[in-house]
Assembly symmetry: C7
Homo-oligomer: 76 residues x 7
């Protein structure tokens, strides 16, 4: 009944290996290539960069982000 | 016993492909076309726009919003 | 053993299609006709209105309210 | 092994149809007759009254209180 | 393999009908005789007393304390 | 596949009957001998002592600490 | 369908016995060798060091970090 295209995680799946922007509850933002995610919305980014208040703070390489700290993921 | 029309997610289902307004615990608001949602109230909007304190801040394209950060979804 | 009349959700069920007042953790209040609810206490109101600090702020039509943001629902 | 009298919800059960005092994480207090509760500690009070900082604020009739907003229930 | 004496709830079980001190996330403290507890660490105290900032505030009789508001229980 | 030595709770198990330091979300710290823990990371310490801002505040004897209030456990 | 390389915990698995940096919701940071983790993202670090506001505060030896306090784990 529920068609595949209608699930939120499909949107993340379509963004694999593409650049995304992850906004956090603590106001930080991470950008990078989306390598992995799971149903808890834990995500892994490659070539990640950390921003605070719009300013680049650190280059991070590979970063695991715990899902419950995320507010939005901008995929395109 | 419980008839279909009485479930909250039915309201979201009826709003698919329509414009909705999503208010967040952190005071942000996102508007856009509702593309997908799940039982955790994770949602995906297309043609999304971000507002803070009533002011438009960014155009976001496609955005995945984690359900536990949402307070209300205004569907009509 | 547990008789039907003793469950909290029965109180919400008895309030379907009646006006209720929903108070939120963030201090907002929503009034409207209770259309739907589920075990997570997600609710949908029709003809909803939003209040902050006792002042009417917006008329919202149909609104989905995420259960984990609710403190009380005043049904009568 | 675990005897019935030793479960916290038994205390709530013994308080059905009696007056209780419910203290909330946000500092509010509700008093009223305990009509219903469930394992999430969602409760329903009749003839409820709302207090803030020790002052009576509103008479509420029937009120559904979401369990995760409660700190203590004083039953006697 | 896991021996009985090594589980945290055994410590609470050994404290039944003895005086305990319950510290809360909101800074309150409750003392009283431990009557009941469950796996969520919901507890019931008899002859309970409420303290704030080290000062006795109220005598409460029987009090149900929701587990997720508790930080520590001092049993001896 | 997953070998036993690689699970975080094994670290706690190896620390049984040894002195540990438990840091809390509210800034408190408890030291004592680790007597028990479970999968929720609820722990029990004997000969416990409470610290706030680095200062010893109380000797507590046996203390049950609710897992969801803990940030780290320093085992060695 | 879902291939193994696409899960976030695989990234943590690949980082076993390597140095990682763990950022916390309370602003603390822990560095050390990743010894263990589980599906709750509880982790254990050896040769751990604690930082606050970019300053080294303590050397901790072995530290168990509760998953729900973590925001990101920087693995490379």
């Amino acid at each position: 009944m529920e068609d595949y295209a209608s699930r939120p995680l499909d949107t993340l799946n379509a963004a694999r290996n593409k650049n995304v922007m992850v906004d956090m509850k603590n106001g930080y933002r991470y950008t990078g290539k989306l390598i992995a995610f799971d149903i808890h919305v834990n995500v892994v980014l490659n070539d990640a960069e950390e921003f605070q208040n719009g300013e680049a703070k650190r280059k991070l390489g590979t970063v695991f982000i715990r899902g419950d700290t995320i507010t939005i993921i901008n995929t395109a």
